[in-house]
Amino acid sequence: MSVEFQNVVKRYGTAAAVAGISFTVESGTLVTLLGPSGCGKTTTLRMIAGLELASEGRILIAGRDVTSLGATQRDVSMVFQSYALFPHMSVLENVCYGLRRSGLARDEATKGAREGLATVGLAGYDERQPSELSGGQQQRVAVARALVLKPSVMLFDEPLSNLDARLRRQMREEIRELQQRLGLTVVYVTHDQQEAMAVSDRIIVMNAGRIEQQGSPRDLYERPATPFLARFMGESNPARGSVRRLDREQIVVRLSDSEVVVADSAAVDGEATVAVRPEAITVEVAPGPAGALPGTIAKASYLGTHMEYSIDTAAGALFATCPRVERPLKAGDEVALVLASRGVIVVQDQAT
């Protein structure tokens, strides 16, 4: 076990930025802290790094209690959102820095740094200044600099937020590939759920200083525990509906006049909040099959690979995506919506 949080609280004055969280990070896995801004994910990351000290609780890294130790004394390294490359040092000096501070002789440090740069594909860039590199290259220098210390845990603080969309995809693949190749333990912070799903073994979703839910990307997407999660992990339409249990494994969810059978073992009979994924809605021209939900298209957008529709229905306004682009519908068309059982999720009300 590489990182363990036990009821950790971080307070600034009276306000709690992190309100008592516990989790573990297994060795060799990549765990993502995900959440909207202000949810406490970066504070949590900085508490792992030792840049903030916990107000309460215990933090263990590689089995050692590090709660009151500063960053220098912990076996971690970090890649910053801004990369934080030292502008007055060359690329090589930047990568050498941590090795030199750990007490390595200049030659050894240089050797280690060259290896690190080669690992990230930047061999031969030794004497460049950080300002002469592209954003992606700076990112890789930052990764190399953290990597060469061979820390118990490597931390990434929104590492891709300064890159353009294309580079972002490429870099996140590189980071994931590197992590798996070298068997690194990584804690990764992002607010982008797609990015989180693409790189993570496990995701910890945070909201308002608490852990909302943790699990594999698939768990979180398909079985969000709260309306917040359903909204935050991918798109979803919130709607009110009613639940009737068929058997131990299945329930019937009723939205207005339409019914759909859903695999669920937890929901109880009665009114419930239902999240409907946009891709689970099939849009047919009215009247459509029996049991379909009738509606009217309010807005239609063409997005190349698919269409997006906003549809007014008796169960509220729903947002749907439709892969058929060759015969698009237009605003005002009467439609019937068929719901696929995999994209209809009953979320427990937070009150219950």
Partner: protein
């Protein structure tokens, strides 16, 4: 570090208590005479010997606390528990140290109520010596290590040590003396405490009279000070803005010259501008003589009074306003101005509705600086004020004049402090909460919009004559040192220089026979010691204020600024009051002068450091920390290289102000440690303008040389450009 450091400090402290004289020695440590008397001689005895042999029992608890610290270090226990015990023991030791120092003085108990409570005390004690000082430092170090072990200050002993060092030194050398003198505001001549006295002193008609407005007569010094300060602040801000706009927004060709112009007044000793103004505008000055000769206009004395002081202050402080404003004017993003122009605003509208409002924080800052410089200014009002009194001169004469009323001086000092703080809060109000940050990480590709014609013309019309006149003024001052007697006998001569700086070659070698050499070398030596200390302390203070979060940060920030707002004379007298008697007895030494320089000039180092530090992304420090760089290494390898311009600034300022300070050190100089400025004042008082000016010119040359030297040694930042990543929101 965590395990060895407290052990080393406890041992060092105990060694000092055993092997160094506890009290200050008359002849200093270097004579070595104390070595033989460490046990037996009452003067030379160590702390331990003082307790056992000489009956100074009150030192025992202090040493016991130190011994307790050593014991704690030797007992194996958990990190937190060790920290807690260390903290308790060292804090108790410090408290006992301070208590005995304050309670027992030259004549036994130092307060009557102590005598009443405990009866007469047989012993007495003199000033703190090397042994006692080291014990105190060791206790401070142990306290900070204890705090760090318990996880305070990010668990870093270096940070904890830096914070306690800065806080303790500011407490000792800024807050304590100022408190000592301000208490006087509540005391009558016999030292009896009467709070009502302050009101009485502050309500005096001499301070608040408005008779210059109604019924004729003179206004109170408070109004005089305020009016002068507001005019000076407005004038310097306007002029500074004109210069800054010319330097950045026009094709003006003499920008380099402008730079020189901004440095000159900063390296000018006090009085020089005042003297030059008298040489030019005085009744016997060039202008009046010319008018008299050409048109028979009777000479007037307009230069003495409000107008003269204001003129001198405008000359002296405009460069400071310029330096404050140039950064702000450069910082206004061209993109915003371009945006304005695409929104149908012409150049003039853009300038007035976008550029100027964006400069508002800078303008407010320049105004504040001008205001504070003006109210603290002493040299110009005393030379040119005539009978236009302001608070700073009033305070000086309350202390040295026929009144000899420290209470009144302290009360007036309090008033001055209130004005400074008031200005500070008004500035905060004006700048408000709005965001004016226009420098972003996104490359500003736009071009600075040229000034609208009307503004450009106005700026040039104001600034160019002003610049020319400044050079003329310096020219006259320079010539004034090269003629026999200004206004009487214009025969060129080098007499003044030879009198001050003669070097004779004799059989025994060179003899520095000039009258100024003694004060010259003392000044250079003390300023050279003070400058690096000022810069180091200022930058460390800035570093902890910007980068560390701890309880009392805001208070510490305020305390660092305190000595800047208090006029020099008050500081000088406060130092004599606070450090002439035990426990700290250092008057008459070079040390007190150096300390006065350091703590008086440090605020500017702090400000410059804070400004520079906040431009360096905090993540660079954090990156270093996660890369195993401990705090001192981060400071040395990452922060300081990026702070080079600020270091140069702080060093230069520390040196230059040490050379040019006068009012604060008047009471601290002795024959042995005479300073250049005090020597010059005596010359001015005696009317030897020639030699005073010659000396001032030599000082200006010296300071320019030192500035170049510092630039050369510290060097430029290796990377002119910094990658400035956009500051992302932090979750």
């Amino acid at each position: 570090m965590s395990s060895r450091a407290p052990l080393l400090w406890s041992v060092a402290g105990l060694l000092a208590a055993v092997a160094l004289p506890w009290y200050a020695l008359q002849e200093g440590l270097d004579s070595g005479a104390w070595l033989t008397g460490l046990w037996s001689s009452e003067d030379y005895a160590s702390g331990l010997a003082q307790i056992i042999q000489h009956g100074r029992w009150w030192l025992a608890p202090v040493l016991a606390a130190l011994a307790a610290c050593l014991a704690i270090c030797l007992v194996p226990t958990s990190r937190e528990r060790c920290g807690a015990w260390l903290m308790i023991a060292s804090a108790a030791g410090l408290a006992l140290f301070v208590a005995q120092g304050l309670a027992i003085g030259l004549r036994g108990w130092s307060a009557d109520w102590l005598v009443a409570a405990f009866g007469e005390l047989a012993g007495r004690q003199i000033g703190t010596g090397a042994g006692a000082a080291l014990v105190m430092i060791a206790l401070l170090a142990l306290l900070s290590i204890g705090l760090a072990l318990r996880g305070a200050f990010g668990g870093d002993a270096f940070v904890a040590g830096a914070i306690t060092t800065v806080a303790a030194s500011i407490l000792l050398f800024t807050a304590w003396p100022i408190l000592r003198i301000l208490v006087q505001a509540f005391q009558d001549g016999d030292g009896v405490f009467r709070p009502a006295l302050l009101l009485e002193r502050l309500a005096a008609e001499k301070i608040w009279s408005v008779r210059c407005l109604v019924g004729g007569g003179r206004c109170g010094v408070a109004w005089n000070t305020l009016i002068l300060a507001v005019c000076c602040a407005a004038g310097t801000t306007a002029l500074g803005l004109a210069f800054a706009l010319i330097a950045t927004r026009t094709g003006f060709h003499f920008k380099r010259t402008l730079r020189v112009l901004t440095v000159l007044p900063i390296v000018t000793p006090p009085f020089v501008i005042g003297l030059a103004l008298i040489l030019v505008f005085g009744r016997a000055g060039l202008v009046n003589q010319f008018l008299d000769w050409s048109m028979g206009v009777a000479s007037t004395r307009w230069i003495y009074g409000f107008q003269g002081v204001l003129l001198a202050q405008l000359f002296a402080f405009t460069p400071v306003a310029f330096l404050v404003l140039i950064g702000v004017v450069e910082g206004v993003s061209p993109t915003l101005e371009e945006a304005s122009q695409t929104l149908r605003a012409d150049r003039w509208a853009t300038f007035t509705t976008v550029s100027l409002p964006l400069m508002r924080p800078g303008l407010a800052n320049a105004f504040l600086v001008g205001f504070i410089e003006s109210i603290a200014d002493f040299g110009n009002p005393i030379v040119l004020g005539g009978d236009y009194g302001v608070l700073s001169t009033e305070i000086y004469f309350a202390v040295v004049g026929a009144q000899l009323d420290y209470g009144r001086a302290a009360a007036l000092g309090l008033l001055l402090l209130a004005f400074a703080l008031g200005a500070f809060f008004v500035q905060r109000r004006v700048v408000g909460q709005g965001s004016y940050a226009t420098i972003s990480g996104k490359g500003d590709s736009g071009l600075p919009t040229p000034l609208p014609d009307a503004a450009r013309r106005a700026a040039l019309w104001v600034a160019v004559p002003w610049a020319v006149f400044t050079f003329l003024l310096y020219g006259f001052a320079f010539v004034g040192g090269l003629v026999k007697v200004w206004g009487r006998d214009y025969t060129p001569t080098l007499d003044h220089y030879t009198k001050a700086f003669a070097i004779e070659r004799t059989a025994d070698g060179l003899i520095w026979s000039g009258a100024a050499w003694n004060s010259f070398w003392t000044t250079v030596k003390l300023a050279a010691i003070a400058a690096p200390l000022t810069a180091a302390l200022g930058l460390i203070a800035a570093w902890i204020l910007v980068r560390q979060r701890f309880v009392g940060r805001a208070t510490l920030e305020f305390a660092t600024m305190l000595s800047f707002a208090v006029p020099g004379t008050v500081i000088g007298v406060a130092y004599v009051f606070a450090f002439n008697v035990p426990p700290i007895e250092i008057t008459g030494t070079a040390m007190i002068i150096v300390l006065c320089f350091v703590f008086r000039n440090m605020p500017v180092g702090v400000r410059a450091g804070m400004a520079a530090m906040s431009q360096i992304d905090r993540s660079l420090d954090e990156a270093s920390a996660t890369l195993r760089g401990r705090a001192p290494q981060t400071l040395v390898y990452v922060v300081l290289p990026l702070l080079r311009p600020a270091i140069v600034g702080a060093l230069v300022y520390g040196f230059v102000r040490a050379v040019t300070t006068v009012s604060a050190v008047v009471f601290l100089v002795t024959a042995e440690y005479e300073l250049a400025t005090t020597y010059i004042i005596l010359r001015v008082i005696n009317g030897d303008y020639g030699i005073a000016i010659a000396y001032s010119c030599a000082l200006i040359v010296l300071m320019l040389a030192v500035i170049l030297l510092i630039q050369f040694v510290v060097g430029e930042r290796r990377l002119g450009r910094r990658i400035a990543p956009p500051l992302g929101g932090r979750a």
